[in-house]
Amino acid sequence: MDRFRWMSALAYANLRSAASTPWRFIALAGFMAANNFIWFVLWWLFFGVAGDIRGWTLSDVATLYGIVAVAFGLYTTFFGGARIVAQLAVDGGLDVYLGRPRSPLLGILFSRCDPTGAGDILSGAALIAWATPDPATFALALMLAALGTSVIVSTYVAINCLVFWCAGRASFCDQLFECFLILSSMPHLGLPVPAKVLVYTVLPAAFVGYVPVELLRSFSYGELGAMAGAALVFPLLASGLFRVGLRRYSSGNRMLEMR
């Protein structure tokens, strides 16, 4: 089985497993969608006071929040294992994946599926549909969200790889990822220069929501290239970091465990 068929098979198996209790799947997805809509009320209130900010209106923030929600939903639905890399490295669980013939990182990424992701995808798509003027823009926004998923997954993997150098800091990794997500879902208007550098490099939150919306507001091939570049470069960096980190990993006590 080639790599892509294997990845598809893993994703399909995860989805089937998550949907094995349909009412639970639907309820969790529904709750997450409601959660996103309630959160959006805060932005509505903010723009009710502020009017518009540097040309950004409520519909731009709806697009931003929608793109981030779709990207995050795609991550939790298909690459949910990114969340557990640190935990596996700490408790020796990586052994299970190291003993397999396929890439351990891909195996981990495709090992979890969270049903709430479907709610994120649907609510995000609804927000984008509300805010975008035509189907072509809607389709472009979804494509940009898919690119954003690549940045989210690779950032989470890279952050979790920190435990290879400072063991027992899994909670710090989660906090850092939460920082990244918060930054992703906000318009980066009026940020000081050091913060701007941060969101385009170390915590590349700009590529998840802000850059895609700027692209939709005024299309440029340069920005699209930067977006595609980020979706390619950050996974390579994360995968490289994981490989370097693995050299520091030594457990070897759960090699025969079956999952």
């Binding site: 997450m32 209130l45 502020a50 900010i53 940020l191």
Partner: protein, 257 residues
């Protein structure tokens, strides 16, 4: 009290997580401060608000959710793993034990994040909206707000016994706390209907009550907020006692989720 002390010690031993919390808090405050800075003064003046007030207001509202954190998770995972049953035979019930432990965690986080948040708000605005006399009531209101939110979260955690998971319920309630509690925009600037709905819930007592001191530091307002908090705290504790009783009865009859 020993449970509270244990909670304090546990939080202190997780210093990297506290550092992460402070970093997240600072980033969030920084981003919102830069957004408020871009709002024209005229727009704020219409609501009798100023940039400095709004930054301090947000610095204080954010303190409560950051101090309480996601404490329902611990209860959820304990119930899912069958860890609550052994507490049935102990002299102090499971809910009381969790509550005291989490109160310790919350107090420790408040003690760390609070000064850092106030320092950052001062750096961003160059002003302090309160006098020394308002600091003790502010501390009481922050602890009171955090206690109400903590009580709500413990009830959400206990709901795992019925639903098998608490996460979806938590997300909804958390967002309701943010919206109806006035996390970013003060309740006084809400549209009329939404403001009236908000005051019917306990959420303004969690976030708006302490943070509104940045907008209105007068002692009449402080007294009003203290009374409001006392009312909702009593109600939430009564509800928590009811849920805890139902939880223990369910545990006795059906076992854990």
């Amino acid at each position: 009290m020993s449970c509270v002390r244990l909670g304090l010690r546990e939080t202190w031993s997780e210093r990297p997580a506290i550092a992460g919390s402070i970093l997240t808090y600072a980033l969030l405050l920084g981003v919102w401060a830069s957004l408020w800075k871009l709002v024209p003064d005229a727009a704020l003046a219409r609501l009798s608000l100023r940039y400095e007030q709004l930054v301090w207001y947000f610095a204080l509202t954010e303190l409560v959710p950051f101090s309480v954190g996601h404490c329902y998770r611990q209860i959820e995972s304990e119930i899912q793993a069958g860890g609550a049953t052994p507490y049935l035979v102990r002299p102090i019930g499971y809910t009381a034990l969790c509550g005291m432990l989490e109160l310790g965690h919350t107090a420790a986080k408040l003690a760390f994040i609070g000064p850092a948040g106030c320092a950052l708000a001062f750096l961003l605005t160059g002003t302090v909206p309160l006098g020394a006399a308002q600091v003790p009531p502010l501390a009481v209101l922050l602890v009171g707000g955090a206690s109400i939110y903590l009580g709500v979260q413990i009830m959400i955690g206990l709901s795992t016994a019925w639903f098998g998971t608490a996460r979806p319920l938590f997300f909804i309630v958390q967002k309701l706390v943010f919206v109806l509690g006035g996390l970013i925009v003060p309740l006084s600037a809400y549209p009329g209907v939404l403001e009236r709905v908000a005051w019917l819930t306990p959420f303004p007592a969690t976030l708006y009550a302490p943070a509104s001191l940045a907008l209105e530091p007068g002692f009449a307002h402080v007294g009003g907020m203290l009374v409001l908090q006392a009312f909702w705290l009593a109600l939430v504790l009564a509800a928590l006692a009811g849920v805890a009783g139902a939880f223990e009865r369910r545990l006795m009859a059906n076992g854990e989720a």
